[in-house]
């Protein structure tokens, strides 16, 4: 498995984290402390951004792994 593949896998794991964070908040329901919703929102937004960043980086890594074109 190449670096790009592994990075894409991690990007998918981060995307799964966003879903998991939503579920954590939903499962707690009324038991959730008032401050938790804002914190979870911030975390899942960050996870989504991080997943996007990793996907983009994986794309560049894949390009790096391809055979060099003339002029690099």
């Amino acid at each position: 498995m190449s670096s790009a593949d592994r990075l894409e896998e991690q990007a998918r794991a981060l995307a799964a984290c966003t879903a998991r964070l939503r579920r954590i908040l939903a499962d707690l329901g009324e038991a959730a402390p008032p401050w938790l919703s804002a914190s979870i929102d911030a975390h899942l937004t960050a996870c989504a951004v991080a997943a996007h960043d990793l996907t983009r980086a994986a794309h560049h890594l894949r390009a790096l792994d391809e055979p060099p074109l003339s002029g690099g």
């Binding site: 670096s3 592994r6 991690q10 981060l14 984290c17 707690l28 975390h43 960043d53 060099p68 690099g72």
Partner: protein, 727 residues
């Protein structure tokens, strides 16, 4: 895992359980994010290696990865893993750049605190505690410090610590995760994720293993007798074993009892107390360093010492054992539980730890039944990072009693007495459950053995000074060893003519003298009591004073029993080759090579056996005398005056028996002081006692010593005399 706080981690009953479950999931999310960051860091390192091959594409990949690893809206400052990761992560920590993983873990810790607060309303209702927790969670260092100071000022350090105890680990981990100190990040991570024992102090980052490594030792155990009035329980039960631990106290000892169970089989129960108060590091493994090492390390001097105590029982292989420990003792017994060699030799059926940080101990034998009893306000069990707020199922197969006690002041709530009272009065179900598990150990106690534990095997008493071959003569073990005593030796100037006469009758001489007229202005001493003109002398100094020594000794612990004695003697030159000046240097030589010495004139002894044996053994005749008080034929009264530390004075003694000179030695070890200006005077009673007459003849009645040597605590080794030809 069963918790006695009303929540169950498996089913998530109750709000606290739900919050803990959410906290655990958040911790898992944090770990997943951390793994993604680590993979991105590895990819960055890999991309840099492609620079030469495809510089433009490599640069683009590196830029994308760097952005992913430093994007404040995404992973945050998240470079981690490997050498590059370690350096930049610390740099990021110093700059206050948090990663997304850390922020998620901080949320997890805040949820753990909230869960505990639901069970401890006093935490949520307390404005000072809330202020502190909120400031820590918001990473406001100054506000945290002020809140902590306000808390301590309001209720004192002990009370503040007690109030904070249920969330102590979480608050420390939260602080460590968010602060700028990179040294404590690893410990905070371990606490927040429950992946292992907190490796460092969460505040300073000082490595726990570094501190624990200071506690060195092979561990040793020696049988010892109970103290006067110490009695142990005679029927096995949880409360009985804990009562025994309370009876032993933190005195560096453990108790092992043999109990005959309902099936008629005799098994053994090890009962290990907690830390011994006092010095940080003493000769026992039950000290502060021992507490650290027992908790942090898999094997410690304490656990090795307990193992040696068990080996001393001589049990057959496979013998069944139950281990009960409080505080550090609980950590130590759990080290044995996780020791494969110990568990291969013995069958550890049960282990009960009370008030101990044992969350990360792993039993070597899965059949061992383990119970942990902790008070939620007791800080000690939380020192491994997991306290009442933990959200992890570290040991689903253990029986865990984590309870609340309304009178929760630390350190009282950590005491064995408090745990005993709680188990007796407040936790009947838990007690019954543990007692049921210990059924095989609930029977009459057939034997109780106490062991004193040491970091290293203790040297034999007096080793190496007093450990010598011995033989028996005249009903005495020779050489006579004294492992505890004290002495004062006083030196007097005496009548030279009388001294010469005494020496002549003993075949010895000449006497060492003071005040040699021919010496001129050479070495000149001005000791009080002699006025001016006292000079070191030679054997030929006509009219010069002789030197008498009186050695008052109290041997309260000797191989000849306790006794007191007074030895009177005259300082004499080398019997074979008297030297004018050499005598003073010779007197400083070790006794084995010394020729000059003290000619024994007489003495007193409180030991009739010694008085009877002395003529044959040492060539003098001491008189048996009680010597119990200051009244007697010869008494030194008055202050010795200021003293200077000097080496302990060994003695070479010359006695005389049936025409033969007997040479013997008394070697002395102890802290000695030389008193150059003693204020004491010798009182010689006019009783007609032979020794009194002798000293009076020598002109010593009312005399002030030239100098004195005092040794308040000494060990001595006194040999029998050996015949020496001197003519």
């Amino acid at each position: 895992m069963t918790r006695s706080d009303g929540s169950d981690l498996e089913t998530g009953e109750g709000e606290a359980g739900s919050l803990r479950g959410a906290a655990r999931e958040l911790a898992e999310v944090g770990v997943a994010i951390h793994e993604a960051a680590a993979e991105a860091t590895r990819a960055l390192a890999s991309a840099t290696r492609g620079t030469a091959r495809a510089p433009v594409r490599s640069w683009r990949a590196q830029r994308a990865l760097l952005r992913a690893l430093t994007n404040r809206r995404g992973l945050g400052f998240a470079i981690t893993g490997g050498g590059l990761g370690a350096v930049t992560a610390r740099l990021g920590g110093l700059l206050g750049g948090e990663s997304l993983a850390v922020l998620v873990l901080a949320t997890s810790l805040r949820l753990r605190i909230t869960a505990v607060a639901r069970l401890h309303p006093e935490l949520a209702d307390d404005p000072l505690l809330r202020r502190l927790i909120d400031a820590v969670a918001a990473d406001r260092d100054l506000a945290s410090l002020r809140a902590m100071r306000a808390l301590v000022k309001d209720r004192g350090a002990v009370r503040a610590l007690s109030d904070l105890a249920p969330v102590f680990g979480e608050v420390l981990a939260l602080k460590a995760l968010l602060d700028e100190n990179p040294l404590n990040d690893r410990a905070a991570w371990l606490i927040a994720t429950g992946q292992g024992y907190a490796t460092a102090d969460p505040i300073t980052g000082l490595s726990n293993r570094l501190v624990a490594a200071l506690d060195r030792g092979r561990g040793a155990a020696r049988r010892t007798a109970p103290k006067v009035g110490e009695r142990f329980q005679e029927h096995g039960s949880l409360l009985a074993f804990l009562t025994n631990i309370a009876t032993i106290g933190t005195t560096g000892r453990v108790l092992i009892q043999a109990v005959t169970g309902p099936d008629g089989v005799t098994r053994h129960v090890v009962q290990a107390p907690g830390m011994r108060l006092g010095r940080v590091d003493n000769d026992s493994p039950q000290d502060l360093l021992g507490a650290f090492s027992s908790s942090v390390l898999a094997s410690s001097p304490y656990s090795r010492a307990v193992a040696k105590a068990v080996h001393d029982l001589g049990l057959p292989e496979g013998a069944e054992l139950a281990l009960i420990g409080h505080s550090t003792g609980g950590s130590a017994i759990m080290n044995l539980v996780q020791d494969p060699a110990f568990c291969a030799r013995y069958r550890v059926t049960h282990a009960v730890a009370v008030g101990s940080p044992i969350d990360f101990k792993r039993p070597a034998d899965p059949r061992t039944w383990i119970a942990s009893v902790t008070n939620q306000h007791d800080i000690i069990p939380t020192l491994d990072g997991q306290g009442s707020g933990t959200c992890f199922e570290l040991h689903p197969d253990w029986y865990v009693v984590d309870y609340r006690d309304p009178s929760h002041l630390f350190p009282i709530c950590h005491s064995i007495g408090r745990y005993l009272a709680n188990l007796t009065d407040d936790l009947p179900e838990a007690r019954a459950r543990i007692d049921a598990a210990l059924t095989l150990y609930r029977g009459p106690v057939t034997e109780s053995r106490l062991y004193r534990l040491y970091d290293d095997p203790p040297a034999p008493p007096g080793h190496p000074f007093l450990t010598v071959p011995t033989y028996r003569r005249h009903g005495l073990d020779l050489p006579i060893t004294c492992s505890g005593g004290s002495s004062v030796t006083a030196y007097f100037a005496a009548e030279p003519a009388v001294a010469a006469e005494l020496l002549a009758t003993r075949g010895l001489g000449p006497a060492v003298r003071l005040g040699w007229r021919g010496l001129g202005p050479a070495v000149r001493l001005s000791w009080r009591g002699l006025g001016s003109g006292v000079r070191l002398g030679s054997p030929a100094s006509a009219g010069a004073r002789a030197v008498v020594s009186l050695c008052f000794t109290d041997h309260h612990d000797s191989s000849a029993g306790p006794y007191r004695e007074l030895i009177a003697g005259l300082l004499v030159h080398d019997p074979w080759r008297p030297r004018r000046w050499g005598v003073w240097f010779d007197l400083l030589r070790p006794p084995g090579r010394r020729r000059s010495g003290t000619c024994l004139l007489g003495g007193l002894t409180s030991s009739p056996e010694l008085a009877a044996a002395a003529p044959d053994l040492w060539g003098y005749e001491p008189h048996a005398f009680p010597l119990r008080t200051e009244t007697g034929p010869v008494v030194l009264r008055g202050p010795l005056g200021p003293g200077l530390p000097v080496p302990a004075p060994d003695h070479v003694l010359y006695g005389y028996r049936h025409g033969t000179v007997l040479r013997s030695t008394i070697q002395v070890r102890g802290r000695t002081r030389l008193h150059p200006a003693p204020g004491a005077r010798l009182a010689v009673a006019a009783t007609g006692h032979p020794l009194a007459r002798l000293l009076t003849d020598l002109g010593l009645h009312g005399a002030r010593p030239l100098l004195c040597l005092s040794t308040p605590a000494h060990q001595t080794l006194r040999s029998a005399g050996a015949p020496v030809p001197i003519t």
